[in-house]
């Protein structure tokens, strides 16, 4: 008796979203990125199309990072402190599809850089690279509300993604995105209901669903990532099931979360049984990224160039069926 592969039939698909605007579209990007359109659970080609596949954004900081382990630091030490150079290296040498610029220097508990300083940084990165940008604040609500209008304006009409809108703080960032033609990242504390609530709040502000990217705050491998997987998978299932308010593409932060885990950075003297430090963090980051790929994420935000290349290879294999 012949075996028939059981197939799910879905009625809806993930929203297709294009990031970045070329000259023809009013911006200055030399390339744009399109994601979404998925018609099935990730990579189940026999059930539905995956027209675009996932993309990788390399994350850079606007100031020199503190305490990065050597296997990571060695690739970036020559450029950190110069975000434009860092962005260029990430694109030209490591093949980043996008740049995710985190404005760490704005943190009032750290450098406390001004809105003007941040805007200047953004202009320099916009000029330095042609790929689309993700611009992320420092994580302090009040300070981000202060700098984001200036940062948004500094990249006006480039169709960047601004991060992040939360349930308790979304108005300023949405107003900026609406004014300057950007997308916005809607963040939720690993809860599918709150994700949907933020999406509704933000669309109530006038943002279009196709200008929204969803982000669940997840940890790295070893930090309860199974639960994160189930939340992302449920979100994709809801999208395929026709829930308009959960059909936006998803973004996952991989680099900073994976490298936070002890196994990724502890020295060989402290943990000889874990094997060579130079490979551990890379494997940890690649494994975390792979897991989110299979859960249905569309944008991976990563750090290490070799982890990026491993994941890219894996994605190529998955997409070719």
């Amino acid at each position: 008796m012949p075996f028939t592969v059981p197939k799910e039939r879905w009625t809806a698909e993930v929203q297709t979203v294009t990031i970045g605007a070329t000259e023809a579209e009013g911006g200055t990007r030399t390339s744009t990125v399109t994601i979404g359109g998925d018609q099935s659970l990730p990579f189940l080609h026999f059930e539905g199309d995956t027209p675009y596949g996932p993309v990788i954004a390399v994350e850079i900081l606007d100031e020199a990072p503190q305490g990065w382990p050597e296997p990571l630091a060695e690739h970036y030490r020559d450029v950190w402190g110069d975000p434009a150079a860092w962005a260029q290296k990430a694109v030209e040498e490591f093949g980043a599809d996008m740049i995710c610029l985190r404005l760490a220097s704005a943190d009032p508990e750290g450098t406390d850089a001004s809105a003007d300083d941040c805007a200047t940084t953004i202009r320099s990165v916009v000029e330095a690279v042609g790929v689309p940008l993700i611009i992320w604040g420092c994580g302090n609500d009040d300070k981000d509300n202060e700098i984001m209008p200036f940062c948004s304006e500094a990249a006006a009409r480039e169709r960047c993604i601004l991060g992040s809108a939360t349930e308790g703080n979304y108005k300023t960032i949405c107003a900026s995105a609406l004014a300057d033609g950007h997308l916005v990242i809607n963040e939720s504390p690993l809860d599918i209901n709150i994700q949907k609530q933020v999406n509704i709040l933000v669309t109530d502000m006038g943002m279009k669903p196709e200008d929204i990217i969803m982000y669940q705050v997840t940890g790295g491998l070893g930090y309860g990532v199974e639960y994160a997987y189930s939340i992302l998978e449920r979100t994709r299932l809801a999208a395929l099931g026709g829930d308009r308010m959960l059909q936006m593409p998803m973004l996952s932060i991989v680099g900073s979360e994976a490298w936070r885990v002890k196994e990724a950075w502890q020295s060989e003297d402290e943990a000889p049984e874990w094997g060579p430090l130079e490979r551990r963090g890379i494997i940890w980051e690649a494994a975390t990224a792979t897991l989110f790929l299979h859960a249905g994420t569309n944008i991976l935000v990563m750090w290490h160039p070799q982890a990026v290349s491993h994941v890219r290879h894996h994605v190529a294999g998955l997409l070719s069926g």
Binding site: G168, K171, K196, Q197, I200, L201, D204
Partner: protein, 634 residues
């Protein structure tokens, strides 16, 4: 121990204290009532006071906190965490003053729920027979008790079988002879056998009275009832004095476990509350405690336990079993109630640890257990309880709604009394809040009904978003940043004849939303357990903290209730008190209450994996899944 003086400025009271005492302890002793819901553990942070001169020491470093007071005057501290070591002067901000324990008249019993015709013949828990018995003679040598029974049977053959207890029998011979065999006999219906509970002199115009009592976690209400006719003389209510030991049942149970003698103290608190209400009623309606010969009580299992002095620890622990479901008929004197010592006390039977006699009473009063219609009863109190079913089956669940809709923990709230805002509507064009109050008095606070309308109106006008965030930049001076959080001023002092504005703060809104989310999630998950959709509910009763003036449209608009056709929703008020009244007046009512309690199946939502998910989804106006609220304009 050296003694120091604590000056409570606002009250012009100077209270002596021993070093090492907390300000809260001293205040309680001095009769200065501070808000406190956690039993002085430094958790609820309600008892904040300002030290304007002198200094205090933190009792527990983890909880103690000091920060500059308002306008940088003095230091702001928690009274329960501040130990006195020297003379200090204390200011008490309005928001830290205790709940209003004033006794208020209750609204009349909800007329639709207290139809005695459902349970004819009327047969009160204790019936009084005024008898003139023939004196014993050579021809009639029957015993005193036999004589009494003969007299009773002549009045009502149904009194048999009837018995008497030793203390009453001991007094019987003297009582009969002192009163020339003209006596008022109280006969209590304590189950299959009746009991002669008192033999008293017959006086002209003597009345036999009873009490219907609802012991709620936050509010206690009493109705004074004429047992012969079923007419209510009047009713009174006030906050439950146990609130000082915790605002919900769990924190009160924990409080009783923390030291010996506290279970007693908890019992005394409810007796004191009842005693205040009773003396108010007795004075007002010129009634003697002696004449109150029957009491029917409805309350959740923990409240009944505290009244009876029974340890409630098992209710707190899984599987949350109550010590007893149906209780025997008890004696008022033994419970320390200000009624006739032998007055009969009937407690509405509980279904489970968290679905108590108040709910049995509600089911009894609504009659949903007799109807073919699929009905849902939601009682929004400090616990939200939900019953669904019809004349074939009933299922119930409990959800910890919290006391927000009863006004506890919401600064602008007050009970439904004169000056309470029942209906309100914010008009952004004129920037005024249009309102109605009870007795048309100037607004003094918002009652449960008004809180629902307020949420609906603020959401509809965009003052709050669907998550309940107050928009501090909203185009009105009413929306502003308060000390630590945004607030919306409902009434300015000149609009309300008050000293300080009445406003709603962010944490008030958050509390109200969590309450409504718990109720809606409870309904949704209970129905999901039965594979029922809300649309299949043919009748929905909303009981508890809401008055009949509530616009049910608003209750649906904020997602307190599921979106069903509005004519199916009926706001019934205090159904627990109505059920207690029916049990007080009707034998069939008492029998039905026991049958209802044993026929309801309890569903434990705390072990249902769907509950938390539904709760978060419901913590939104009206709900995260808007398709479930098709009739709500969003």
């Amino acid at each position: 121990m050296p003694t120091v003086n604590i000056t409570f400025e606002d009250y012009e009271i100077v209270a002596p204290a021993e070093t090492g005492e907390t300000i809260l302890e001293v205040a309680n002793r001095a009769g200065v009532r501070l808000a406190s819901y956690c039993g002085g553990r430094g958790v609820c942070r309600q008892c904040e006071v300002v030290i304007t001169s002198g200094a205090v020491q933190p009792r527990d470093r983890a909880h103690g906190y000091q920060q500059p007071g308002p306008d940088a005057q003095g230091m702001s501290v928690l009274a329960c965490q501040s130990v006195v070591t020297e003379d200090v002067t204390v200011q008490i901000p309005l928001r830290s003053r205790a709940e209003d324990f004033t006794i208020r008249d209750t609204e009349p019993l909800p007329s639709g729920l207290v139809d005695l015709a459902r349970f004819l013949p009327i047969s009160a828990l204790t019936r009084q027979f005024v008898l003139t018995l023939p004196q014993p003679s050579r021809e009639d040598t029957v015993s005193d008790l036999g004589r009494l029974k003969r007299g009773l049977l002549a009045e009502d053959p149904e009194v048999e079988p009837v018995t008497i207890e030793l203390p009453v029998l001991r007094e019987l011979p003297l009582s009969l002879r002192e009163n020339d065999f003209k006596v008022a006999v109280a006969v209590t219906d304590s189950g299959p056998i009746r009991k002669i509970s008192a033999v008293r002199p017959a006086r002209a115009g003597q009345s036999s009275l009873g009490l219907a009592i609802d012991v709620g976690t936050s509010n206690v209400a009493v109705q004074l009832v004429d047992l012969a006719t079923g007419e209510t003389r009047g009713g009174g209510m006030r906050r439950n004095g146990q609130i000082a030991y915790g605002e919900d049942v769990i924190s009160r149970i924990i409080w009783t476990q923390q030291a010996a003698g506290r279970l007693d103290q908890m019992g005394q608190a409810i007796r004191a509350t009842l005693s205040e209400i009773l003396s108010y009623l007795y004075n007002r309606y010129e009634v003697a405690a002696e004449d109150v010969i029957a009491v029917a009580v409805a309350g959740n299992a923990t409240m009944i336990n505290f009244l009876l002095g029974i340890d409630s620890t098992p209710i707190r622990r899984s599987p949350h079993t109550p010590p007893a479901s149906a209780l025997p008929v008890l004696e008022g004197g033994k419970l320390g109630l200000d009624v006739h010592p032998q007055a009969a006390v009937f407690c509405q039977p509980a279904v489970s640890g968290f679905v108590g006699g108040d709910i049995t009473a509600g089911v009894l009063a609504t009659g949903m257990y007799e109807s073919e219609e699929l009905s849902l009863l939601v009682d929004v109190g400090t616990n939200g309880e939900i019953v669904v079913g019809n004349n074939d089956w009933l299922m119930a669940a409990s959800t910890s709604a919290g006391p927000a809709f009863e006004g506890v923990g919401v600064e602008a709230a007050m009970p439904a009394a004169a000056g309470a805002v029942t209906n309100l509507y914010y008009n952004p064009d004129k920037d005024v809040v249009e309102y109605e109050t009870i007795d048309n008095q100037p607004p003094r606070g918002i009652c449960g009904t008004g809180l629902v309308e307020m949420l609906a109106s603020l959401a509809a006008t965009g003052v709050i978003d669907r998550s309940g965030n107050i928009d501090a930049d909203f185009d009105s001076p009413r929306a502003r940043q308060a000390d630590y959080e945004p607030e919306f001023v409902l009434f300015w002092p000149d609009e309300a004849a008050i000293a300080e504005p009445i406003s709603i703060r962010q944490h008030d809104i958050d509390n109200l939303l969590r309450s409504k989310a718990a109720v809606l999630a409870g309904i949704t998950v209970l129905l999901a357990n039965l594979d029922l959709a809300a649309a299949e509910i043919e009748r929905m009763y909303l009981a508890g903290a809401f008055g009949a003036s509530l616009d049910v449209d608003k209750a649906v608009a904020i997602g307190l209730l599921p979106d069903v056709p509005r004519q199916r929703i009926q706001v019934v008020g205090n159904s627990a008190l109505a059920g207690a009244y029916l049990a007080l007046m009707c034998r069939a009512g008492r029998r039905e209450a026991n049958a209802i309690a044993s026929s309801i199946t309890y569903v434990d939502l705390s072990t249902d994996v769907r509950f938390m998910d539904e709760f978060v989804a419901s913590n939104f106006i009206p709900h995260t899944d808007l398709s479930r609220f098709p009739s709500v304009d969003v």
